[in-house]
Amino acid sequence: MTVFQFSSPAWMVCPVILPLIAGLLCFLFSHRTFAIALAAALTNLLVVCLLTGQLLVFGPMRCHMGGWQPPLGITLRTDGPALLMLLMTAVTGLAITLYARGYFSYRISDPRRAGRHQRQQRYFWPLWMLLLAGLNGLFLSNDVFNVYVTLELIGISAASLAALSGKPASLLASFRYLLVSLLGSLTYLFGIVFLYRSNGVLDLGLLQNLAANGLGIRTALVLMSVGLLLKTALFPLHFWLPPAHANALAPVSAILSALVVKGSFYMLFRFWFEIFPSTITQPTLNFMGTLGAVAVLWGAVQAIRQHRLKLMVAYSTVSQLGYLFIAFPLARVDGGIPVWSIVIFIALAHACAKSAMFMAAGTVFLHLGHDRIKDLSGVRASLPITVFAYGIAGVSLMGLPPSGGFVGKWLLLTASLGSSQWWWALVVITGSLLASIYVFRVMSRLFVIPEGFSLKKSEPHFRLLEWPALALALISLFLGLAASWPLHILVHGTTTLAQVFVGGLP
C-alpha cells in the first residue's frame, strides 16, 4: 500500500484523525480513557516525528484531501514552522496527558468528592483529544476556512475544558472565554467573506501567489487579524485570559496557556508574513510591536501584583505573548535572522515552560489546598521536584541562559539592536527583569523551609504529578543548548519563506 510508505503525504492526516478517533473512543469507553488518550498522544508524537523526518528528507509536502485540488478541495501541508508547532503540541501534549492522569488520580483518591472528580475526568479526556485534533488541524491546514473550523473546534473544546472544574468563578470565566472566542471567530469569518469576495480563493498557497493588494484584501486582513488577536489575548484584549486560565483545572490551564493561544497566533503570523507580506506596511508592524511591548510590561506588572499563584502564572502568559509581537517590527531586518526563528523559539520555550509552571502550580495547589503566594513556605520539603521544576521553568520565562527563552530573547535583541531599534531591546530586557521579580516572588516562598517546619508524613505521593513538569521544564531549559535542531527543521522546511523574508518584502 502506497499510503503507508514513508514518502506518502497521507501521514499528515494522522495527527488530525488519531486524536479525533481517540476522543470519540474516550467518550464511548469511559473506563479506559487514560489508556486511549495516552496511546493517541504517543502515536501522535510518533507520527509527528515521522513527518519531521519526511520534511527533512523531502522538504515541504502537501496532501490534498480526497484527491481534490486546491480551488475546491481542502489541502493539508507540512513545512518547518508547522512541524515545529506540531512537535511542540505533541511533546507538551504527552506530558500534559501524563500529568492529567496523576492529577485526577490524586483528586479521586480524596474520598470526599470522588464522584465529582471522576465526572471531571470522564469529560476531560474526550475534550482534550478533540482539542488536540483541532490544534493539529490548525497547524496543518492550508485553507482559510478550514482554519476557521479548527479555530471553532479549539474554541468549543477549550471553553468546555475551562468550565470543567465547575466552580462559579471558572464557569463565569469560561463563559466569557466562549463569547470572546466566538466574537473572534466570527470576525475572522467576516474577514474570510471579504477575502473570498475579492479573490474567490480560500487556499493559502493560492492566496499567497495572488498577492493582490486591493481594499478588500486589506479589510479582510484587518478583520481576520483582529479576530485572531482577540483569541491570542494581545493587550488590550487580554482581559479574558487570566481568569479563564487561572480558574481552570491545572492540566487545562497548562493546555490553554501553552498551546491554545499559540494556535491563533500561529495563524496570525502566517497571514502577516507568509500570505500577505506585501500588504503589510511598516507602521502596522510597529503598531503591533507597540501593543506587544505594552503587553509585556503590563502583563508583568499585573503578574507581580497578584496574590494567587495561578493568576500570577496566567498574567505571565499575557506578558510572554507580548514578546511574540515584538518580533513583528523586526521582521524586515536585512540579512538578519529569519523572523520565524525568533517567534518559534519564544513560542516553543514558552509552551514548555508555561505548561511546566502551571503543572507545578497545580501540584502545589493540590498539596496545600490553596495557592496564596504568601503562604507557600515549606512546600519544598514535601515537593522538591515540583519546586525545582517551577524554578527551571521560571528561568526559561525570565530568559536566562541557556534556556530556550534566552535564545528567543537573544534573537529579539540581536534583531532590534542590529536594526538600531534599541527601544524594543529595552522593553525585552525590562520585561525579563519584571519576570524575574514575579518568578522569584514565589520562588523565595517556595524555597524557604521555615523554622520548626515538619513534614506531613501521610501525603500520598504521585510521581505523575511531579515528573512531567520537571521533564518539560528541563526541555525548555535545554532547548537553548539544542537550538540548532529546531533551526535546522525551520530552515529546511521554509526555503520559500526564507526567500520572502530575506529580501522579498517591499
Binding site: 486589506r218 484587518v222 478583520l223 482581559f239 503598531f287
Partner: protein, 570 residues
C-alpha cells in the same frame, strides 16, 4: 661549580640564621616547648653576634624565591649595627629571662620579643628594599605587643598611639619605596640610595623612618611606650629598635652621595627642635621610663641634626656618616645601660647603694657629654663635623651643643632623682639584673675607647680645650638642675602623655564614630516600595476597567480602525 653553589647556599643559611633563630624560637613558644624557650632565650641573639664578628664584609646571599627577590648581605655599616643590636638584644633577653620567671603572660611577651628581634636583625641584613620593609614592618608591629604587655588601660592607650603612628609610617614608607622602585627600576638598596630627588619621597621617608626614631611631629608614641613597656623591652626599643630608623635613613637617603640642602635644613630644624623639646618635656615627667623616652627624643633630635648637616653639603656628607654611627653607638649603649640601671633600681626598690647610684650616674652624664666618656667623644666629633661645614653651622653649634648638653644633664639628674624614689616593682629581687647592668655599664664605658674606627674621634677629643668645652655645660647643667629643683618644681606640674590623645588617635580611631551609621539604603528602598505600592490599587482598577465588555468592544473596534488606517495609509 657545585662547590660555589654550596658555598652560596652556606652563606645564605648562615645569614638567615641571624633572623631565623629568633623566628623559630618565636614559633616554638606557641607550642608546649615554651619553658625551654624561656630558658634558652639569650641564645636567640647569639647568631647575630657571631655573624657580626666573623662574617667577611661584603658577604651577600641571594634568595630569589623569597618575597619578590630576597637579598641579604653584610656591609660595614650593617656589621656595626648588627653588633650593637645583637649585644643589646642579648642583654635584654637575659633581663627578660629573669623577668619572665615570675610572669604569667609569658607566651605573649616571648612571641613579640622574639619576633621584634627577628625583625631588627633581618632589616640590618636586608640588602633588598622589600626585605628591609618586610623586617621593618615585622619589628614595628611586634613591638606593639611588647608595649601593651602589661595590659593596663594606660598600656593599651600607649600601644594604640604607637600603632597609629606605626601605621602612618608604614604607609608613608610603602609609598616612598614604591616611588623609588618605580623611578630606579631596581629592588636593591644599593641602587636606590642615590635616587631620592623628589621632595615627596624625601618627606615620605622622613615620616616613614621618623616615626621609629620619634622625630618631632611623630614623637607621640615614644614617651608612653617607654613608660609602659616592661623594662627589658623598653631597653631593646630604646637601644636597638630605634636605630632601625637611622639605618633606614642611612640606607635610603643619599647621605654622602649627593647634597640636598633643603632636606638637610628640614632635618636640622626638626632635629634641633626635638632636642630642645625632649629636654623641656622630660623635666616635667614623674616616671623614670618617661624621662628616658624624652631623653631619647632629644638625643635622636641631635642625630637628626647630624644627618641634616650631612645632607646640606656633599663633602660634609662623607664626614657625617662616621659621626652619625659613632653617635648612634654611643647613644644606644648609654641608653640601654640606663634602662638596665632603671631595671636594677626597680627590682631593688629604694635600697640602691651609693655605688650603684653613681654607677648609673656615669652613663647618665655620658649622655650629656661628660669628659672622657663616649658622650664627649661623640660631641667633639659633632663639632668637628660643623667645622668642616664652616659657617654658619660652626657658630650655631657652639651655641646649640652646650645648651643641649646642659639640658640633658638636667634631665639625667632628674632621672637619677626619680630613680632613687622608685617604688619596688615585683615581689622579689630578680637575679642577675645587677650583672646585666654591670656588663652594659662596662660596655658603655669602654667601647668607644677600644673601637678602632672611633680612634680618630677619641684622640680628637683629648685636648684641654675640648675637655673644658665638654665639662662646663655639664657642670652648668648640674647647677641649673639644683636651682630648678629648688625653685621651680611643683607637684602638679607633670605631664602624662598617656592621657593625652594625639591628633592621629582622634582622627583615625574616632573617625568611624563621627560618621553615624545611617541605614539610608533600607529607608530608600522602603520609600521606593511604598511609592510603588501606591500604584497597586490603580493597577487593579485599570485592569478591571479593561475587562468590561464595553471597553473591550470599544478597544476592539479601535484596534480594527487603527490597523485599517495603518494598512491603507500607503
Amino acid at each position: 661549580m657545585i662547590s660555589a653553589e654550596l658555598q652560596a647556599m652556606g652563606h645564605a643559611l648562615f645569614l638567615s640564621l641571624v633572623a631565623g633563630t629568633p623566628l623559630l624560637m618565636a614559633a616554638a613558644c606557641c607550642t608546649p616547648m615554651k619553658k625551654t624557650v624561656v630558658h634558652f632565650l639569650p641564645l636567640a641573639a647569639v647568631p647575630a653576634l657571631v655573624v657580626a664578628m666573623t662574617a667577611p664584609v661584603g658577604l651577600v646571599a641571594e634568595i630569589g624565591w623569597f618575597f619578590m627577590g630576597g637579598r641579604m648581605g653584610l656591609d660595614e655599616i650593617g656589621r656595626i649595627f648588627l653588633c650593637l643590636s645583637g649585644f643589646i638584644w642579648l642583654l635584654a633577653s637575659f633581663s627578660s629571662r629573669s623577668m619572665l620567671k615570675h610572669n604569667r603572660n609569658q607566651t605573649q611577651y616571648l612571641f613579640f620579643f622574639l619576633t621584634s628581634m627577628c625583625g631588627n636583625f633581618g632589616l640590618i641584613l636586608a640588602r633588598g628594599l622589600l626585605g628591609y620593609y618586610l623586617f621593618f614592618a615585622l619589628m614595628s608591629f611586634a613591638a606593639y605587643g611588647l608595649i601593651i604587655q602589661k595590659g593596663t588601660e594606660k598600656a593599651r592607650k600607649a600601644g594604640r598611639i604607637y600603632l597609629v603612628l606605626v601605621m602612618i609610617g608604614e604607609v608613608a614608607l610603602f609609598t616612598a619605596l614604591i616611588i623609588l622602585v618605580y623611578s630606579t627600576g631596581s629592588l636593591a638598596i644599593d641602587d636606590i640610595a642615590g635616587a631620592v630627588h623628589q621632595p615627596l619621597v624625601f618627606a615620605l621617608l622622613f615620616i616613614g623612618f621618623g616615626v621609629k626614631i620619634g622625630a618631632l611631629p611623630l614623637h607621640g608614641w615614644m614617651v608612653p611606650a617607654y613608660q609602659e613597656a616592661p623594662i627589658p623591652a623598653a631597653a631593646a626599643l630604646a637601644g636597638a629598635m630605634v636605630n632601625a630608623g637611622i639605618l633606614g635613613w642611612l640606607r635610603f637617603l643619599p647621605l654622602g652621595l649627593t647634597s640636598y640642602p633643603q632636606g638637610g635644613l628640614f632635618f636640622i630644624a626638626a632635629g634641633a627642635l626635638a632636642a630642645v623639646y625632649g629636654v623641656i618635656t622630660g623635666l616635667y615627667h614623674k616616671q623614670a621610663g618617661a624621662v628616658l623616652g624624652c631623653s631619647s627624643i632629644s638625643q635622636m633630635g641631635l642625630i637628626t641634626v647630624i644627618f641634616g648637616l650631612g645632607l646640606v653639603d656633599h663633602e660634609a656628607g662623607l664626614h657625617a656618616t662616621p659621626v652619625l654611627i659613632l653617635y648612634v653607638v654611643h647613644h644606644s649603649l648609654t641608653k640601654s645601660s640606663l634602662f638596665f640601671g632603671y631595671d636594677l633600681a626597680a627590682s631593688r626598690g629604694r635600697i640602691l647603694s651609693h655605688l650603684q647610684v653613681s654607677a648609673i650616674l656615669l652613663p647618665a652624664l655620658a649622655l650629656a657629654g661628660l669628659p672622657l666618656t663616649g658622650g664627649a667623644i661623640a660631641k667633639s666629633a659633632f663639632k668637628q663635623l660643623t667645622v668642616t661645614l664652616g659657617e654658619p653651622w660652626y657658630g650655631l653649634s657652639t651655641f646649640f651643643l652646650p645648651i643641649t648638653a646642659m639640658g640633658t644633664t638636667m634631665l639625667m639628674l632628674h632621672f637619677i632623682c626619680l630613680l632613687r624614689d622608685t617604688e619596688k616593682r615585683g615581689n622579689s629581687e630578680r637575679a642577675g639584673s645587677g650583672i646585666i647592668f654591670t656588663v652594659s655599664f662596662i660596655a658603655t664605658a669602654i667601647t668607644l675607647w677600644l673601637w678602632p674606627a672611633a680612634g680618630f674621634f677619641v684622640s680628637n677629643s683629648l685636648s684641654w680645650t675640648k675637655f673644658w668645652q665638654a665639662l662646663w655645660p655639664v657642670a652648668g647643667g648640674c647647677l641649673l638642675f639644683l636651682a630648678w629643683r629648688r625653685f621651680f618644681i611643683r607637684e602638679k606640674q607633670t605631664l602624662d602623655d598617656v592621657k593625652k590623645q594625639t591628633i592621629f588617635d582622634i582622627v583615625l580611631f574616632r573617625f568611624g564614630n563621627l560618621l553615624q551609621e545611617k541605614e539610608w539604603q533600607t529607608t530608600q528602598q522602603g520609600r521606593f516600595i511604598s511609592y510603588l505600592s501606591g500604584f497597586v490599587p490603580q493597577l487593579r482598577r485599570s485592569e478591571k476597567i479593561m475587562g468590561r465588555w464595553k471597553v473591550v468592544g470599544l478597544s476592539y473596534l479601535l484596534l480594527c480602525l487603527c490597523m485599517l488606517f495603518l494598512l491603507l495609509r500607503l
